[in-house]
Amino acid sequence: MNDQLAFLNRLQQVEFALVELQLYLDTHKDDQRALMEFNQYSKQLEMLKKQYELQYGPLLNFGFSPSQYPWRWLEGPWPWEQVF
């Protein structure tokens, strides 16, 4: 597995934990422990995302990710082309 795929894998793991916690919190809004975990993972995601984007370009469109010159959004591989 190359460096980008290993990095992507880490992102997928952290984001998956956040999807799970988000759905759980939707029906358990008073669970403080889950909320704490959510906020910890959210911080971790923010850091990982910044590091990933510096190396491999923007993850999100519409200004949620900055871009280096030239416009890096165009760079492949696109998700469906990625060979894991």
């Binding site: 992507l8 998956f16 759905l23 939707d26 029906t27 993850l59 998700p79 469906w80 060979v83 894991f84």
Partner: protein, 190 residues
Amino acid sequence: MWIYEKKLQYPVKVCGQNLKLANYLFTQYGGPDGELSAALRYLNQRYTIPTNEAKALLTDIGTEELAHVEVITTMIYQLTKDATAEDFKRAGMGDFYAIRDGALFYSDSNGVPWTAAYIQATADPITDLHEDMAAEQKARTVYENLIKLSDDPGVIDTLRFLREREVVHYQRFGEALRIVQEYQQQKKIF
């Protein structure tokens, strides 16, 4: 508003071209209990659901289902990549190739096009949440059938992940149903 994130929710690894398997997977793209049906069903029910818990859940699960659409299409794309007319013919899919070549289309494995008749919304939150729970179970069944049909270990791994998500969504919809029932009880008392 939706933002696109340029990554898959779960990795897709396929062990080479497999047109027959890609054809089976089509039902989770544009079939009755597929991921497109799921996303559109949940996002469309948001406008008449009464509690904030259920509004949040329909929004979040509806959004996750869109990510699942992309996981399914990525598997189909990679399993059919670079396939020639001859490859399609050999797989018994010449009729598919005749219409679409390698293009994707919202249909089930039999080529039946997606229709809005697959999804329901009644404005009765108890009815709608039961529809959602049933849909998750139907999708789980289809994933189990697909796992039995698959001879590609990478595809099986991804299908297992998607099957598990149906189980979690069913659980969360069940909790949202309980919250809606409590809310309706409360309204009767006051």
